[in-house]
């Protein structure tokens, strides 16, 4: 079979060869680091051998030539005829890269020239070795009876394991191959089967006379096969008719060849050290006429370890990460499953759940036998669901395994010595999540190498070992995946970050000086913090860290950074186990069901009876004071009622209507016409902030399978998808950020510092005056900066006043318009207080600054001062109105 007739066969080969290449790469990297071992060499020799074997069967000459050259080098290494140095490792790794490219381009060569790498590999051999290998591979032996005879070389015969007592020529006619194909045994699978039974020494397409049209039976592939299976068993084992099997008597020939080559393949005689051998030669890699390439080895390992359903190499790569490999530790039998089959299985399992639920709901009055059957159905269904879900899980090692190579290559490029330690490569997560995680993780590891680890000389000067270490550790914790990436580099200098943030205009100077070093370091996650050009000036990392953070957050995860200047940086990632299945709160509104992913839900608040009045209507929108923070509220029903985003008027109208309805219900309750009144809302995350969503009814929590919305729905911004619930009903999945946006709410920052009502605490405050009389106070954390303002800089536009600041128009807010204060003279120089946070559109006008500093005080509530004042306190000897910053923000940021 010299041509590839079926794209499916090629794909199968691609996957299998991809696995072998992953093994080759990870073992080579491990050997480069830790030195060679016979086990490892045997393992990767088999990998190269298998690729070559199947490539020959499929007529892929480029792949055959490169893998053959690599195999030869490996066999010489294994036999102790070559030493394993940096050059050898680099050439073999390049060969892996070339093979990957060829594999992608197959059946063509995609313009990849295989000759340079073959030459490079051959060039590794010293001339006498090369000559003797060549001699051996040009020494042909004609085997078998006429008509069904084939020739092979000494080199190949030498590879026959000494414990194989029988050799055969197997004849596969084209018709036979087609029949096998029809029942699902592709040539790739056939080669694999044969390798399990013995050793495939050589194969070739039997010559046919040119120009003659032959029936299928007349074209055949001959396979020289070595095994310890007796002639009586071979027919059964290979499932071939007897007349297609020809027994050979090679005893004498093999004995002659093996005279000085007693134990070549140590995998069959474990523990026997390699005897010193005379130099042998490299076979010429150009294809022999009519002889196809393969001479794959027996594979005696338990099974090809790839996890069901992933299509990505698993076991050989996963445990390989950073540790010295042992062949396939789990030894679990695995098969490949196509992804679409797995997805279909997943859907069917979901349907089965629905069927089960329907069945269980009909059990009233059923007989005991029916009940038992249904219970069994229940158990089996749950089992199937679990199994299918676990089949989607893949070890993180699939992603981590490629980091060894990245770190090695980067180290070479940057002239740094960097070692990568990986722990927990076996930690599993859902495949969709794994795919999405690959890029941000790569980014982080690259950053560690690029910006974290210093050059060897600098490290030695700092009293550290010359070689740096990047470690990646993964583990499961509390139903989530944790990944910690740590380097022992120079760390992040907080002052450098401060300078950079100031230079980029991301934060004001006083704001930066108030932040702790740890807080400052988190600024590297800000968009625009650094560019590739400027980051090298900075001690630390920061290239595109905003991209990393947003990618992780999109996956429902979180990332934090910690750094000790001089000793390194640690990044902590937290991720859900799966994206496809998320725990969600299921609620009802307007008769429809909605699911809110638990990751977006902070808490649920239920108010009973009189407490429902704690929802303040405020004439504009509903607010609730949650632990000293004002949380804006909106009812889900109102959000759903209009396709258009809600405006201020809508919110005011809804809020008023709700207030009237609430009061009416409360009145009924007070009169005893109602047993209870309650109101429930969920505190939801919208970016960094929080808002409350008033819900009609909460059904409970459920693990939901997220499905994308149909595109015919025109992408309404409030949904993140849809799902089928356990009872078969559909629920729409809410996107909390979208809901908040649609409702036009300004989410509250619950982490902001608060003036405690009754406790004494130190708080940084700015004391200032607006009118001549009152002293006002604002927490420093609420302010970004304070600028001096001349009255002639203020431009008027109707009732509003503006100044030009930071190249934009900033609205000047006079507090006497919002609360009852003495009037400030209109024409007076003063200061503009600019709020912290993202909103740069307004500032508060102060006529004079009194003081700023840390104050300890006791706040008294004074509702008579209006809603913008939290209370009053005695500061610097004056009664001071403490402004409610979140209320101000709510009011002024619209």
């Amino acid at each position: 079979m010299s041509e590839i007739e079926d794209a499916g066969i090629l794909q199968e080969f691609r996957e299998e060869a991809g696995d072998h290449l992953a093994t080759l790469e990870s073992v080579l990297l491990a050997m480069e680091r830790d030195g060679i071992s016979t086990d490892d060499l045997n393992r990767i020799f088999r990998s190269a051998h298998s690729i070559k074997g199947a490539a020959g069967f499929l007529g892929l000459t480029g792949i055959g030539a490169v893998s053959h050259a690599a195999e030869t080098v490996l066999s010489l290494l294994r036999d102790g005829k070559m030493t394993f140095g940096k050059g050898v490792a680099a050439s073999l790794l390049s060969a892996v890269d070339v093979l990957r490219r060829l594999l992608e381009a197959a059946p063509g060569d995609g313009g990849v020239d295989s000759r340079p790498i073959v030459g490079q590999l051959e060039g590794l051999l010293d001339p006498p070795t090369a000559a003797s290998v060549m001699e051996e591979s040009e020494e042909f032996h004609e085997l078998g009876a006429r008509g069904r005879s084939m020739s092979t070389t000494t080199f190949r015969l030498r590879q026959i394991p000494s414990n194989h007592r029988h050799q055969y020529i197997l004849c596969y006619t084209k018709g036979e191959l087609s029949r096998r194909q029809a029942v699902g045994q592709s040539p790739v699978a056939l080669v694999r089967e044969l390798q399990k039974l013995g050793h495939l020494v050589d194969d070739k397409l039997q010559e046919v006379r040119m120009g003659e049209v032959l029936p299928d039976e007349a074209v055949s592939i001959l396979v020289l096969f070595s095994t310890d299976l007796e002639p009586t068993h071979i027919a059964k084992a290979t499932n071939l008719p007897l007349d297609c099997i020809q027994e050979l008597d090679l005893g004498k020939l093999l004995a002659d060849i093996a005279k000085d080559e007693s134990s070549l393949l140590r995998e069959f005689e474990p523990g026997v050290p390699p005897p010193p051998l005379p130099p042998k030669a490299l076979p010429r890699t150009k294809p022999q006429p009519t002889v196809l390439h393969p001479d794959p080895m027996i594979e005696v390992r338990p099974a090809i370890p790839d996890k069901a359903g992933n299509g990505i190499p698993e076991a050989p790569a996963a445990p390989a990460v950073g540790t010295h490999e042992t062949p396939n530790p789990s030894a679990t039998e695995t098969v490949r499953v196509r992804l679409d089959v797995l997805d279909r299985l997943m859907r069917l399992a979901g349907e089965l759940v629905l069927v089960r639920n329907r069945q269980l709901s009909r059990l009233d009055g059923a007989s005991i036998a029916d009940r038992e059957t249904s219970q069994r159905l229940d158990q089996v269904t749950a089992g199937i669901q679990d199994a299918v879900l676990s089949a989607r899980m893949q070890p993180l090692g699939n992603v981590l395994s490629k980091f060894q190579r990245i770190v090695r290559d980067l180290g070479h490029k940057l002239q740094k010595e960097i070692a990568l330690n990986v722990e927990g490569g076996e930690t599993e997560l859902d495949r969709t999540l794994l795919e999405a995680l690959a890029d941000p993780l790569t980014h982080i590891v690259r950053n560690c190498c690029d910006h974290g680890i210093e050059k060897p000389a600098d490290r030695v000067r700092a009293g550290k070992p010359a070689g740096g270490t990047v470690s990646v550790k993964a583990w499961h914790e509390a139903g989530r995946v944790r990944i910690r990436i740590k380097d022992d580099g120079k760390g992040i200098d907080a002052n450098a970050v401060r300078a950079k943030a100031l230079e980029k205009g991301l934060r004001a100077e006083d704001e930066l000086s108030r932040m702790t070093d740890r807080e400052v370091r988190q600024l590297v996650f800000l968009p625009g913090f650094s560019t590739a050009a400027s980051v090298t000036d900075l001690s630390g990392r920061g290239v595109g860290m905003d991209v990393v953070r947003s990618a992780i957050e999109r996956l429902g995860g979180a990332v934090t950074l910690d750094s000790e200047p001089g000793s390194g940086t640690t990044l902590d990632l937290q991720l859900p186990l799966t994206l496809a299945i998320v725990p969600a709160l299921v609620v009802v509104s307007r008769g429809c069901r909605f699911a809110i992913p638990q990751a977006s839900v902070d808490e649920l608040v239920r108010l009973y009876d009189e407490d429902v009045e704690r929802i303040e209507s405020a004439g504009r929108e509903d607010l609730y004071r949650l632990r000293e923070h004002l949380l804006p509220l909106v009812s889900l029903g109102h959000v759903l009622s209009s396709r258009e985003p809600l405006g201020a008027d809508d919110r005011a109208a809804f809020s008023e209507a709700d207030r009237v309805a609430r009061t009416a219900r409360l009145d009924e309750f007070r009169k005893g016409e109602r047993v209870a009144v309650s109101e429930t809302f969920a505190v939801l995350k919208a970016g960094e902030g929080r808002f409350g969503l008033i819900l009609d009814k909460i059904l409970g929590t459920e693990e939901i399978v997220v499905e994308p919305l149909h595109q015919g729905l025109g992408n309404p911004g409030i949904y993140a998808g849809a799902t089928v619930l356990g009872d078969g009903e559909i629920a729409l999945i809410l996107d909390t950020q979208g809901v908040c946006r649609h409702a036009g709410l300004q989410p509250a920052d619950l982490d902001a510092s608060v003036v405690g009502a009754h406790e004494q605490q130190a708080l940084g405050m700015l004391l200032f005056r607006a009118g001549p009389d009152e002293q006002l106070g604002l927490p420093l954390s609420a302010l970004r900066r304070v600028v001096r303002l001349r009255s002639d800089e203020i431009e008027r536009s109707g009732e509003r006043e503006y100044v030009q600041l930071e190249e934009r128009s900033v609205r000047v807010e006079r507090l006497d318009r919002h609360l009852s204060l003495s009037l400030a003279p209109a024409q007076q120089d003063g200061f503009l207080l600019l709020p912290s946070g993202d909103d740069r559109s307004w500032g508060i006008l102060a006529s004079a600054l009194v003081d700023s500093g840390e104050y300890r005080f006791r706040m008294d509530e004074s509702p008579e001062e209006g809603s913008f004042v939290r209370g009053t306190a005695l500061l610097r000897g004056h009664r001071t109105l403490l402004l409610d910053e979140s209320r101000l923000r709510q009011e002024l940021s619209r």
Binding site: E351, C592, H710, Q711, G712, L713, P716, A722, I730, A731
Partner: protein, 160 residues
Amino acid sequence: MELCTFRLAGRLFGTEIGLVKEVVEHVNIAEVPHAPPEVSGIVNIRGKLHLVVDLRRIFGFAPAETRTDVRLVLFKNAVGESMGVQVDALGDVISIDPRLIEDRRAGEIADGASQFDERRKARQGIALGVARTGSGLMVVLAPAGILPAMREQAADEFRH
């Protein structure tokens, strides 16, 4: 040409049977707030979500009284991914000569310089033409035009 026929708003419709995946009855349509008005909602057919389109809205027929028993004609994926239309009643499968389908689009486009040009054009993409059958005039649908027509209407809505 074999057609699957159904009734909607008192009219007879037909669609090529090769385009129909299946016909389902007695399912719950889940309403999707904020969806375009032409969408009735989504349904769960054996674990897979399907979009249900309200042809009445697209053709401008009077809205139906709320019905409890829903009948859907679901189309194959070649027509549009996981999609179907709501119908009032299902009819027989009939066989007609494709040459008997009158293409009325040409005429309508010629005399249609009205302000509803965009919508009309979109609607025309959904009907292949009309055919006379034993039970009266039948509109022959081109279901592949449904999703594009909805996009057109959304854009139209945006413009006005």
